[in-house]
Each structure stands twice: as structure tokens, then as C-alpha cells.
Symmetry: C2
């Protein structure tokens, strides 16, 4: 008998028909003799409706009250999911985040999990009940409802799997796993059967929106093996775990495309220590995340600084930078346009040479102009024009034999 | 400085615009130097939507899960109401039923309040915060969410007023008070400025759907003076309290009409002890409430039993009675049609004679045929044809000078 933690996202429980399908899937695991804990999100759309209502009162509603408001989304789903299981003759009981003992700090709307007691989940399981837990939410030390922020339900599931020492953790979503590339772009992209936490982290941060980084980091820290799979079919998904020896044979795991980047250049700033730091500090204070960075030395003791920010932040970044450059004689700011970031990721890069060479060779053969480059231990990323993104992804996918 | 408990029903908080109006009203009391605790219902319609979703799984969903589901309605409203107050610069904080320490038994969907601790409401008030409490809901001794059933939010407000020893309890609703008769029927009906618990109880049980009887009974037991008033205007409403000496001058307080009754006759049953008891026991076991009862002795040791049930229960009652009469030779069941119950209510009836005489005289003068009669210490009710209901109400209203 295994203890399985399953998580179903908003689209998987989008209406009562889908909730019934989820219940049927849960039943197959119960019938297989397993103990099952299920974490569910709010029905898709509900959270946005609630936020819209809150924003009629204020653009930035009180965060404690926001959590009180948003928590109702999951509370609705747990009750309906339990009822759906009852209708199939399966014993089930629902638990809010508070009842499941998901204790968080009091950073409302983006709380961090401090501890998971599990409440009476083990007793419920011993009585043969499926336990349906509200994802995304918890309770702080003062008894206030808290929420975990984006990707919170995945985090709830992985943290519960760790606390309950579950044998299996399944993340059901609307994609059937992690692919070597976006199948809409690269026709012969393959599902990756197994990958490491680090690889998924790089994938996630690079625009393959499978899971938020914090959930993967939590799984890595607590060594929770999980599987990303589809709630709309029965195919095996992608298993994510610590780097296994066998994985090292695979040099590159996947190609990721992020089309949400804007390139910004600040020209003719003094080429001296602290200049760049000042700029990045001001952007950081404005809540703008800077991604790829290049600095070139120009002429006459001046430097040019180029970097990318998220498209959504471009206008705000420009405002901050213009204000900054007002105080620097000759300095100029230019938003040089939206670009695509294309990356290859693989833990095998650590032990294999020649990856960078093959990467740039491939781009050159396809006449793709590289505007900006960044690398980490397990990935290489380039900023290129949006029009070249699909060509680059396909060429790299083929060059690294990801379709094999 | 007074401590005021206010309760706003579903139509008063039906959308964010109305919630803002509620917040503005609360603010006037805060600006007046009062401490305010607010109990709110779910937005009108929300509870029915949730029930409809639950019923897709089962006609009778598990009651614990039903409570988990329904509690989200009020949780949404408390958060939005707190945000609305913030937008007006008023300090406010929301509390679920559980957080407000509304402890109930575990009779899910119809729980009874066992104790009210108030949670940290007093501390919040001392910090100058308005406390918004979710009506209708509580928590049982095992930490399960419970709901109080119909009229539960009124009960939450009155019970909180008792527990907090509030100076004033205001029940805001979509009517502006209790009237001497339904103003849609009797043109010169007047708002009753003050009335006793008993009178309101008789009114409520007779179809003037102002408040559920249990809330009034709770107020009576704990001597909570409350005011029923409108959330859409600033007129004083109706104050409900223990019988005051001055009230005795008013012989009759109001006329009530209940159009939701069906008359049932069981004929030719044995005229011996226990016959009627058997019938009412079986109806009771089927969850059917019997209202007005008349028994006539017939011929040959047989009796006829006539009574009224709610229209909604008529079909079920007929089924129960036919099964019962199958075992009694010669007994027949007839559903003799929908009738109206028209009543006059007043604690003054206790000390004034001649009320019954004037009552029946008035009906006779208007050629209204009385089919069934019941009385209590403070009311007289008759069952008459539906067509006569408006005429009877107007005639009685005038005869007892209720428009003066």
C-alpha cells in the first residue's frame, strides 16, 4: 500500500464535470489499494473574479483581507471534490489549509511555509478516507488565513508529500509532462521521462511554465520525487528527482524559448565601479527583475550597459532609467525592442565539453544573429530576434539529437 | 461610546456597489464614536449557486461537506466588506465564524450555537477596528466548519450581541421594519415602532418573513433588544424587546397573511384515543409540519380530521396519509385545496376581552367563510379561501384601528 499525494490544478477542476473526472481518477488509485491525499486549486477563473471584485475598492487591497478572500476558491473545490468522490462510493473528507496544519509566516499573499503538521490527515487515511486538501492556502501563527502566492498549490502538494513521507507525488496539470522543447514550435519534441530538479528549475526560469521555481526548490531541498502529468489522459508524465547517474549520459535535456523579454541599453555612462550597481539597485527597488546582462566598454571612459527585462516591466524600467540618466551628462537610454531568449539546458553540460561550440555553430549555420549571451553551469542562453526564435529552437533541438 | 452589532443580509451586500454603501453606513457609526461589530451574509444568489453545484453530484450531498462549501459565501463577503471600509479610511478586520469563536454542535447544515467566545473581537475593538464577522457559520468542537441553517446570520448577530453585551443590535434587511400588515395588501399599513418578542414570533410563524423564529427566541432568552431596519434608507425601524407596560395599551399589533397552506382532510377514521396521534407521528417522521388542526366527530363512531400543511409538503403528506389509510377500513384522504391563513396578533389580547368577537364579526360582515380556526394566547388565525385573503386583511386592519 502506497501513500500518494496528488495535485490537480485549476483547469483540471474547472467545472463540476471535470471535478467528477478527477474523482474517477482518484478512485482508480483508491481501488488499487493506495492511500490518497489530494491537493486542489480553485476552479480556473475564480481567483481572477475574486481579485476583480477586490480591485473595485482599491488597486492594492489589504493583503490580509486578500488572503481571506482568495482562500474561498480552494475551499469551494475541496468540498465539491469530496462530494464527487462520495457520489462514486469513495469515502472522502475535505480539509482547509488551516485544518491540514499548513503553518506559514504572516507575509500575506506570498506566505512561506514554516511547518506542516498534517492535522488529522493520518487518522483520516487510517480510516480509509481520501483527504482533499485546499492548496495555495495556510494559516499563520495568529490564526489568520494566508496564501502562498503563484504556484502555491504545487508547493502545498510537495510540502505535504514531504511532511507525510508520501511514496509518490503526482502533479496533474494541463500538459502531459516536460518536453524537450515546446511541441507547438518543435514538431518532434519528445516528453522527457526523467529529469533533475536543477534542469526543471532552469526550464521553469526560462519560460517553460510547467512549475514555479519555489516548488521545485522545495522538492529538491526535501528530496521529494514528483511526477508532472496530465489530468486529461493516462500517459506517464515526467519524473523529477535528484540527479541520477544515468542522467549524465544525456548531455542536453531540452530547449526553452522565452518570448517575453525586452532589450534595454543605457549608453555612455561612466566606466567606473558602482555605475552599473546604481542602475540595478534602482531597478530592483522598483520591483523590476533584470535578466540577461552585458556590459561593453565604449570610448572616452564611457561604457554601454545592455540587459533584458520582462516585456511587462519595459515601460516602468524606461521611466526609472530616464530619471537616473538625467543626472549623468551624455548618458542615453534606449529600449531596443522585444527579443526572444532561447536556451539549452542539461546537467550533462557539467561534464561534457563542446556544448557551447556546437550551440554557436548551429546558430551560425542558420544565420541567426546573437544579440546577448548568458550562461550558467547547466545552461546556455542567447537573446535573438523574435523572428529567429522558432528556427533556433528547431535547429538546436536537432543538433543535440533531442528527438532521438 | 456604544458597542453596536449590525447585521446585513444577502441583498444588502449583493454586489460590490452595495457593499460600499454598507461600508459608508458603518462609517457613520464609527464617526459617531461607536465600536462596531458587523455580521454579513453571503451575496444574494451565491448560496443557491453553490447548492446547485453540489447537487450535480448528489440530491443530498454530505452535510459536513455542504457546510464546508456554503461557508465560502460569507467568507467572501467579510473580506470585501473589510476592503470597502479600508477604501473609506476605516480600520477594519474580518473574522470567519471559527475565528469569532462561534462554537456549535456538529449537526451540520442546521447546527445550534453552543457557545460564543468572541475570539479576539474585543481586542480588535479596543484597537479601534471594525470587526466584520461571517454570519451563518461556526465551528464544532472537532474543528469542522458548521452552518446554522436558514436565518443563521440573524442568529449569529443576536448571539454575538448577547456574548459581547452590545448596547444595540441592528438587523438590516430589505424591509424597513415590521408592519401592521403587508403594505402591498393593506394600503395604510403602518410600521410598528416597538413590539415584543412574542408578537414578532407569532408574526414570523404566520408568514411575515421578517426573521426566523429561532433568532427571535434566542434574543428573548438572552434579552437582546434588537431593531429591524432597512439598509436602503435611514428611517428608524422596529425595535423588538420584552413586553413593555406601554405595549399593553395596544391590543392588536398586526395582521398577517400566509398563502402557503394546503388543507388536508382524513375522513371516517375510528373515533378513539391514539388515532390522530398515529397520523401526526407518521407525518412528523416524514418531516412534515402540521399547522392548524380541527377534529370533528362524524357518525357511527367515526371522526374526520382536518389540518393544514405547507403547500410544498402537500404531495408528500398525501402519500404518507394514503399509505396510512390503506390499513383502515373506509378511511379516505382528501387534499381539499390551498387556503390562506389570516391572523391578528397582539400581546394585549391577554388582558382585553372582545377581540375574538370583533374578529369574527368583521369577517361575517364581509361575507368571508371561515374553514378552520386556531388560537393562541396572543393570536387568532383562520383558514379562508385564497380569494378572500386581501379583503380579510384589510377589513381586520381597519376594524382594529391599526392605521391609527
Amino acid at each position: 500500500m502506497s501513500l500518494i499525494v496528488q495535485k490537480y490544478g485549476g483547469t483540471s477542476v474547472g467545472d463540476t464535470g471535470r471535478i467528477l473526472n478527477v474523482a474517477k481518477r482518484i478512485k482508480t488509485f483508491v481501488d488499487g489499494g493506495n492511500q490518497v491525499v489530494v491537493v486542489v486549486s480553485a476552479r480556473s477563473g475564480v481567483t481572477n473574479e475574486l481579485i476583480a471584485r477586490a480591485k473595485t475598492f482599491s488597486p492594492e487591497p489589504d493583503e490580509r483581507e486578500m488572503d481571506m478572500l482568495l482562500a474561498v476558491g480552494e475551499q469551494e473545490t475541496i468540498a465539491l471534490t469530496a462530494m464527487a468522490l462520495h457520489s462514486l462510493g469513495v469515502k472522502a473528507v475535505s480539509r482547509t489549509g488551516a485544518q491540514a496544519g499548513i503553518i506559514t509566516d504572516d507575509a500575506h499573499t506570498r506566505a512561506r511555509i514554516v511547518e506542516i503538521t498534517g492535522g488529522d490527515i493520518r487518522e483520516c487515511l487510517d480510516r480509509g478516507e481520501v483527504v482533499i486538501v485546499a492548496g495555495f492556502q495556510g494559516i499563520d501563527r495568529h490564526g489568520n488565513v494566508s496564501t502562498l502566492g503563484r504556484g502555491g498549490s504545487d508547493l502545498s502538494a510537495i510540502a505535504l508529500a514531504a511532511a507525510l513521507k508520501a511514496d509518490v507525488c503526482q502533479i496533474y496539470t494541463d500538459v502531459s509532462g516536460v518536453y524537450t522543447a515546446d511541441p507547438r514550435v518543435v514538431k518532434n519534441a519528445r516528453k522527457i521521462p526523467e529529469m533533475s530538479y536543477e534542469e526543471l528549475l532552469e526550464m521553469a526560469s526560462l519560460g517553460s511554465k510547467v512549475m514555479q521555481a519555489r516548488s521545485v526548490e522545495f522538492a529538491q531541498k526535501h528530496n521529494v520525487v514528483f511526477e508532472v502529468r496530465s489530468s486529461f489522459n493516462n500517459e506517464p508524465g515526467t519524473i523529477v528527482k535528484s540527479e541520477a547517474p544515468s542522467l549524465e549520459d544525456v548531455v542536453i535535456s531540452g530547449v526553452a524559448i522565452d518570448r517575453n523579454q525586452t532589450k534595454v541599453t543605457v549608453s555612455d555612462i561612466p566606466d567606473k565601479p558602482g555605475t552599473a550597481a546604481d542602475i540595478f539597485r534602482e531597478l530592483g527597488e522598483a520591483g523590476i527583475v533584470v535578466d540577461m546582462i552585458v556590459q561593453n566598454v565604449g570610448r572616452g571612459g564611457k561604457a554601454n550597459l545592455t540587459f533584458t527585462v520582462s516585456k511587462d516591466d519595459a515601460a516602468k524600467a524606461e521611466k526609472v532609467l530616464r530619471a537616473h540618466c538625467d543626472g549623468i551628462k551624455g548618458a542615453t537610454v534606449s529600449i531596443t525592442g522585444d527579443i526572444a531568449k532561447v536556451s539549452v539546458i542539461g546537467t550533462g553540460m557539467r561534464s561534457h565539453s563542446g556544448v557551447a561550440a556546437k550551440f554557436f555553430q548551429t546558430l551560425a549555420e542558420n544565420s541567426i544573429n546573437v544579440q546577448i549571451i548568458t550562461t550558467s553551469e547547466i545552461k546556455i542562453s542567447v537573446g535573438i530576434s523574435l523572428e529567429d526564435a522558432d528556427l533556433a529552437a528547431n535547429a538546436l533541438h536537432a543538433a543535440f539529437a533531442l528527438d532521438k
